[in-house]
Subunit: 346 residues, 2 copies
């Protein structure tokens, strides 16, 4: 790597002092420099192929123009859109993101957050919120700016941007009730996640309001396998079988598909299934999945904007804002009226 031109090289070529080059090249201070000088410096910089060393700048200004993004697993299809949303808001302000995957492990998360902090990120975006969120708590204690996205962390007053989970579940239940379903089960996400508890609570409430017979079973994780396992359990007694399954997310719903198929049951003919998130390609599944669309890109973009606001407003005060973005039901092929013959209450 041929050694890169520094500000001193440019200064020499332009016949001015390094300080002047710095001022001339920075849009904010460019006004304080003679226009002719600015032009001369620009020319010299271009000729040398000069690009500022942002590491050096960061050391001086103690800001890296970098934010850390903490996700459980990039491989979960809801996160890439969120990350792109984050970047879309960051890029115009000159910030970039560095992403880490925790795989849901708290100890790993603390290590990763530490490494992010060593890299002097200016702030953090957590997509990993949960109830005993050690990493986030520690970050908060150290007075570092951060925001939560998608899920929030109970008791940690970072601002959060989330989808309207309760409204989503209400829409699902209304749809199912309109179709004629009366016996419904909810595959609830882990209780340690706000999405898990909020969706489950909304499920219980709405079932009561609609006079549905609703049951909640709790998943240990948002995964396909958990969905399969839980659904298998729920299908036990044919007489007592639910006519619809409301999954806590699309992965659990996919697991329900698998269990149904393994039991020789058809979806939606025998059992309706609905997911949550509308992950990419949900419409291409077998059957196309009825689910709740969560605007993950917007969630990310909004979270990034919020963080940028915190960073630029030098005020230290953290206001525990909670931005709730609307979601909406997407009806596809995994829901249908219940089979009257078999589904009639015993």
């Amino acid at each position: 790597m041929t050694t890169r031109a520094t500000i001193a090289d440019v200064a020499r070529l332009a016949g001015v002092h390094a300080g002047t080059v710095s001022r001339a090249l920075n849009p904010k201070t460019e006004g304080r420099v003679n226009r002719a000088t600015v032009a001369r410096v620009r020319r010299a910089a271009k000729q040398l192929g000069y690009t500022p060393n942002s590491i050096a700048r960061g050391l001086r200004t103690s800001s890296s123009l970098t934010v850390g993004v903490v996700v459980p697993d990039l491989t979960n299809p809801i996160f890439p859109p969120m990350v792109r949303g984050i970047e879309s808001a960051l890029a115009p302000r000159g910030y970039s993101a560095v992403i880490v995957n925790t795989d849901g492990r708290d100890d790993l998360e603390r290590l990763l957050v530490d490494s992010l902090l060593q890299r002097q990120v200016d702030g953090l975006i957590f997509a990993t919120g949960h109830s005993e969120h050690a990493a986030a708590a520690e970050v908060f204690e150290r007075g570092i700016k951060a925001v939560m996205v998608n899920r929030d962390a109970r008791g940690i007053p970072f601002p959060a941007v989330v989808g309207d989970d309760a409204a989503g579940i209400r829409d699902v239940l209304d749809h199912l009730a309109a179709l004629g379903h009366r016996r419904v089960v909810h595959l609830a996400g882990p209780a340690s996640f706000s999405t898990g508890t909020i969706r489950a609570a909304a499920f219980v409430t709405r079932c009561a309001e609609l006079g549905l017979e609703g049951r909640v079973v709790a998943a240990a994780a948002y995964s396909v396998d958990e969905g399969t396992r839980l659904t298998r359990g729920v299908l036990g007694d044919p007489a007592d079988r639910p006519t619809a399954i409301v999954a806590g997310n699309d992965l659990l719903a996919l697991g329900a598909y698998h269990a149904l198929r393994a039991e020789g049951l058809r979806c939606p003919d025998d059992v309706s299934v609905v997911g949550f998130n509308d992950m990419p390609f949900a419409g291409d599944f077998q059957p196309p999945m009825t689910t709740v669309r969560v605007p993950h890109f917007d969630l990310g973009a909004e979270a990034a904007r919020l963080l940028l606001g915190q960073l630029e407003a030098e005020a230290t005060g953290v206001s525990p804002v909670r931005i709730v973005l609307p979601v909406h039901l997407v009806v596809r092929g995994s829901t249908a009226p219940p089979d009257q013959v078999h589904a009639a209450p015993g």
Copy 2:
């Protein structure tokens, strides 16, 4: 953010000089320091919650322990596994990755690569290789270390890690021929991508070897919509209709599904379809997709290891290695013997 402890603070508390702290805390130089002193320094560091500022370190050592990863679009499901593979190889060596999305735009890519370089990344991993790859060419000219992954860039002698595209296509064609197909079309990826040309060439060759009647139509992009558009064209004359479609990747195959459905044709009953990549959830599509599994995680990991090798071996020479990882056919539900009645050659 309470101002963080620096090495000077630790030195003061431990009653030693800053240089000694630096040595004591660095595993490589720790041996040159009295064990008692090391212990004292460690204690002081811990007490102050000291974490080294890697920006400052980077400025001094001119290495950021960061690599840039250039992808077309993180939202394309083949990239998250690749990125995780990259990170899995980087993390143990203390490196982290910063990812940028080009959306296939060359101008954007150059801008993004520039910003990566300003951030002093130690090297680059391009998942965006194509024939007139301006950004990569420029990087090469500047003597910066980089590797290509998944696709390579013609004429740019960076090392590359790719899947065995030709073998994959051969397996697909052998499978189709064994099923009894004789008239096959290939939805080829863009000719500017190595994956596009290699797969298309292998298709032509193998068709000849097997005595199949093979036709190639070229896609403008690896997208679902292109797949739909192309398939619609190919379906034109029922008498001349292919019995199987070999798509350049899973997205094109998915587009073929859509077109078939729109035409009232069933897959695999009327037309077989095969994809390439085995993207996540390909087995959950309607029908479950027969495709070629490409080990994206391993591709990423291998590429990262290769880059690390380049970075640590101070030798400037670039050896244009080309690592080809095996792929394998995954037979699922989108391929079946051709319908004898309709498929009989006119």
